[in-house]
């Protein structure tokens, strides 16, 4: 089983309802989004003029780049297969892939807000609200919480033209699987090849424009990310906490960091 979403560009009119419904459902800060809609074109393609949209969200990848480097605490969790009720115990970091549904999730109480996962995602599907005192990563959960209550994902429920189709990719009878069989495609290539589970269907010209302009061209590089992320975040967090505007070197940072930390306790 693998939850997946298909976005049918023939149906999508680019109304942004999905983005706003999600904001309301999950109290997402105004300046961020768990999902988004970007207008593409009108632009020339080999198949003719195209004007379409990139409604994006977390791809809940088969081989997520965001989970392995998580700096949050491990925890033992019990997972349940929503179809069979079967359970499985597993030790996971603060962000992990559900062994049954394939949804990539975050336990925000164990997230330390380091931002590794945010930087690691080639689709930029995660965010951290730096304005919070204790920022933690957030992203699309495929609304597994709503699914558990028998509800559709918020973006699917609000979609005017049923352009968003959600279901189990591995169930050949599902509408999602039917779309995939008919050629729905994902935003991947040889370089970015981590098995995204958001698929797009549409005519040749729109698919061309989407694939050409919205497929990530590179995987963020891990070691670089670590350095950049840690330094940047430390600096930002400290300067915010102490009311300083600049960084004066690593030693000072460290000293300030421990001071800030003590204030907390």
């Amino acid at each position: 089983m693998q939850y997946a979403m298909v976005i049918d560009l023939d149906r999508c009119v680019g109304c942004h309802a999905c983005a706003i419904a999600c904001k309301a459902e999950w109290s997402v800060p105004t300046q961020f989004g768990r999902n988004w809609v970007h207008r593409l074109g009108p632009a020339k393609t080999p198949h003719g003029l195209s004007g379409t949209f990139y409604p994006g969200l977390c791809n809940h990848c088969d081989d997520p780049a965001c989970t392995p480097g998580c700096q949050g605490e491990e925890a033992e969790k019990v997972f349940t297969d929503p179809k069979t009720g079967k359970t499985k115990k597993m030790t996971v970091l603060a962000t992990y892939k559900d062994p049954f549904t394939g949804a990539v999730l975050i336990d925000r109480d164990r997230c330390v807000g380091c931002g590794f996962c945010v930087e690691a995602c080639p689709y930029q599907a995660r965010y951290i609200d730096e304005d919070l005192d204790d920022p933690r990563a957030d992203k699309c959960s495929f609304c597994v919480e709503r699914l558990a209550e028998g509800l559709e994902p918020a973006c699917v429920q609000t979609c005017l033209s049923r352009a968003r189709i959600f279901g189990d990719r591995d169930d050949p009878k599902s509408e999602v699987a039917q779309y995939i069989k008919k050629g729905a495609r994902r935003l991947d290539n040889k370089v970015v090849n981590i098995g995204p589970n958001v698929y797009y269907a549409g005519n040749k010209r729109d698919m061309h424009l989407l694939k050409e302009t919205c497929t990530p061209t590179e995987m963020p590089e891990a070691s670089l990310i670590e350095k950049r992320v840690l330094l940047a975040r430390m600096g930002k967090s400290i300067s915010k906490g102490m009311g300083l505007t600049g960084l004066v070197g690593m030693a000072a940072c460290t000293a300030l960091a421990s001071e800030t930390n003590e204030e907390d306790e």
Binding site: A19, E25, P42, C114, C159, D264
Partner: protein, 758 residues
């Protein structure tokens, strides 16, 4: 106990080690989804569902429910019982949450202790505010007569107030929704068909559709979009006529890249071709149309060849369109259009839409324009007023006095009221009431509007938010928004004409009570009426009584607020199909009981009785025509301060043809402002969208951006105001409606004006 890891502690450890440290501590097993205090609970946890909402983020009026937690609205969703929008809401509908809790909203009555246009606000009590309004209006009435007051209004909350102002003899009332939007569409259809179909066109079941400038997708009306997309998925051929590759054009089979202002020539040529080739619907024309012979003769001058030249499109494309329509007749959706105040000759164009649909027989058949039977609710009337000195408001209706605009929509043309406010001719208008409208952004020639407002003795404005017009008020009244009040009663049917026929009725009921000192219109108006000495005439005491009264007048069923609440916000009953039974002949409620292809009434008033193309002035050298349209996340200016919607599309890009851009040295994303033919420049700037999807003689942008009022802290100066470029307008002689696509612009980049190359 588990180690409580915080972000700061993590950063500290990480920095000390200058590397990541694995931190494997097992915390308690947890199989639930939510992760404690750090996760949002979702709208479904510990919330109550409140029924009865009717949206007013735009005027399609989807039915909605509120999810309420601890007295606070946390989410809006489509009412699952709705046969119109279902559980869906558009971006604006969802973002109603950000309107209701917008910190910039008007909270208290206020008095302007500064100048009009440069206000300084002083918070006052409702008693003070209503006393001041009564005094201000009475003073004008005493000095100049009841005709000294005029009203500009918009929206459902203004219905009760409008009835009140009529009661006190206000002869000049204008709704921009008519004179700057869809007025002539309604009247042209009414005169031609005998009813106003609005946008009741069965796109979902059409085999072909024709959209003239209609840009569904950028214009989001929920069930209308669903109709359009369903039609496409069911295989309809879509033809979009637009100078721009709009969201609709992007879904079309044929994009007619027409020269702006020539649509009527295009429609006439298509009709001529159908008649010439004998491929029009002869049976329908014979049975259901009046004046075909005279019509045929009247339009015969506009040949395909001539139109191709005028419209700057291939003749073959006109023929292609005509053939597609003929082949799929009568199941063709000739979209009636909505906003039509383009060039000051639009009445004739809309007539052409209706006549083309008639030649194809596209009425009351699957895919065609429908005469839909909705339930009807009652109205609340103020009693007929008696005036001193035989005063009759009709004697002072400006259009009547001037004997102008015989085909005008209800009310007085905006322009006439504004002119009278400035000149005092034929009599002085010195008191202005604005209710829910924003004339600064809706009327062209903004300087004239400002001049008119400055010339008033008293200006009273009621609104939800501090829109630009509120800066011109003497007294400003804060209104409860659509989620906090009772008013409009929505009536409709199932969204797909081919589905099981049903009718519904859904009154707007509050989901949460209003905060601060915001009040509903019945409360405000009754308070004003009492102070103006007409308290005895008050027809209803409360907004609940108002809605109950309207519901009680619904025929054949006993309805009340209590009953609708039990029905979860929507009452639904069996309806009747809008499609004709086989063998039935379509009937029309006109004088001839047929579609008036040739409208004698027009001839009597000195206008062309058959649709006619009139040329409008071309852009001067170095300029392009400015056209405008809708943003999918905004209802013009009224939603601009919504933080969520603003975040989605914060400004209105100027669309510029890619080949022109290359010649002008302009790149996609460059920051520019606009300058029009009169040297007027936009206040703010916006970005350029360089695209092959627009003609070279046109500049396009979405309407409604560029808010002037700094009290709108989100919207202020975001994007640019297209209306500020309309320093000229042209008034349509048939209807008195404004033409707003007759101004020409060029770009300004880095302070330098850049002409549009020929």
């Amino acid at each position: 106990m588990a180690l409580k890891m915080t972000r700061r502690r993590f950063l500290q450890s990480a920095s000390l080690a200058a590397a990541t440290i694995p931190l494997s501590k097992v915390v308690s097993a947890d199989s639930s989804f939510t992760s404690g205090e750090f996760a949002a609970p979702g709208s479904f946890k510990d919330t109550k569902t409140v029924y009865g909402g009717v949206c007013e983020m735009c005027f399609w009026r989807c039915q909605l429910v509120g999810k309420v937690r601890d007295g606070q609205l946390v989410k809006l969703e489509g009412n699952p019982k709705s046969i119109d929008n279902g559980t869906a809401l558009c971006a604006r509908g969802n973002a109603g949450l950000k309107l209701i809790y917008d910190p910039d909203r008007l909270k208290h009555p206020m008095k302007n202790v500064g100048e009009r246009g440069k206000p300084k606000w002083k918070k006052i009590s409702w008693d003070e505010a209503l006393d001041a309004c009564a005094k201000g209006l009475q003073k004008v009435r005493k000095k100049y007569g009841p005709q000294g007051v005029a009203l500009w209004y918009h929206g459902a909350s203004a219905h009760y107030p409008t009835a009140f102002f009529e009661h006190i003899g206000v002869p000049n009332i204008c709704e921009p929704a008519f004179y700057q939007c869809r007025g002539q569409t309604a009247i042209a259809m009414l005169k031609t068909l005998g009813y106003v179909p609005n946008e009741d066109v069965d796109m979902a079941n059409a085999k072909a559709m024709l959209l003239i400038g209609t840009h569904i997708g950028e214009n989001i009306h929920l069930s209308h979009v669903r109709n359009f997309i369903t039609g496409k998925l069911r295989g309809a051929k879509i033809i979009v006529v637009d100078p721009r590759f709009s969201a609709s054009a992007a879904k079309a089979d044929v994009w007619v890249k027409i020269k702006p202002a020539t649509d009527t020539a295009f429609l006439l040529a298509v009709m001529n071709y159908l008649i010439d080739k004998g491929i029009y619907n002869k049976k329908f024309v014979k049975e259901s149309c009046n004046g075909f012979a005279k019509f045929k003769k009247g339009i015969s001058g506009m040949t395909v060849k001539k139109a191709a030249k005028i419209c700057d499109i291939p003749a073959a494309q006109i023929i292609e369109v005509a053939e597609i329509l003929a082949k799929n007749a009568p199941n063709v959706a000739i979209h009636p259009g909505r906003h039509a105040t383009w060039y000051g000759n639009d009445f004739q164009r809309i007539r052409a839409h209706a006549c083309l649909a008639a030649l194809l027989g596209g009425y009351d058949v699957p895919g065609g324009i429908q005469n839909i039977n909705r339930m009807s609710a009652g109205h609340v009337h103020w009693p007929e007023a008696e005036f001193d000195d035989d005063y009759d408001p009709e004697d002072f209706a400006l259009a009547e006095m001037a004997e102008k605009y015989p085909f005008r929509p209800p009310g007085t043309p905006t322009d006439m009221i504004r002119e009278t406010m400035i000149t005092g001719k034929p009599y002085p208008i010195k008191g202005m009431v604005v209710w829910g409208a924003n004339p600064i952004k809706t009327f062209p020639v903004q300087d004239e509007t400002k001049k008119a407002l400055k010339n008033m003795d008293f200006v009273m404005v009621t609104d939800v938010s501090p829109t630009d017009i509120t800066m011109w008020a003497d007294i400003l009244l804060p209104e409860a928004c659509y989620l906090e009040r009772y008013d409009h009663i929505e009536k409709g049917t199932q969204w797909d004409c081919s589905a099981k026929p049903q009718q519904f009725i859904a009154p707007r009921m509050p989901l949460v009570p209003p905060m601060f000192e915001r009040k509903d219109p019945v409360w405000i108006i009754n308070g004003l009426a009492k102070r103006m000495g007409v308290g005895k005439a008050i027809p209803v005491k409360t907004q609940e009584e108002y809605v109950d009264h309207c519901l009680k007048e619904v025929e054949d069923v006993e309805l009340s607020i209590a009953k609708i609440k039990k029905e979860k916000g929507i009452y639904i009953q069996e309806g009747e199909s809008s499609y004709l039974e086989p063998g039935d002949v379509a009937e029309f409620n006109t004088e001839s009981e047929k579609i008036e292809l040739y409208l004698e009434e027009l001839e009597e008033e000195g206008f062309s009785p058959v649709p006619v193309y009139t040329k409008v002035p071309e852009p001067p050298r170095g300029y392009a025509r400015m056209i405008y349209g809708r943003s999918p996340v905004h209802s013009f200016n009224r939603s601009q301060n919504n933080a969520w919607l603003h975040h989605e599309i914060p400004e209105n890009p100027v669309w510029l043809n890619d080949e022109l851009a290359a010649k002008m040295g302009i790149k996609d994303g460059d920051r520019v402002s606009l300058e029009n033919q009169d040297g007027v420049k936009t206040t703010g700037t916006t970005i350029v969208k360089v695209t092959p999807g627009i003609r070279k003689d046109v500049i396009y942008l979405a309407h409604g951006y560029g808010t002037d009022n700094p009290a709108m802290t989100v919207a202020h100066n975001q994007g640019i105001d297209d209306q500020s470029m309309n320093t000229r307008t042209v008034i349509e002689p048939e209807t008195g409606c404004c033409g707003m696509r007759i101004n020409f612009v060029r770009l300004i980049k880095d302070g330098k004006s850049i002409s549009i190359p020929a």
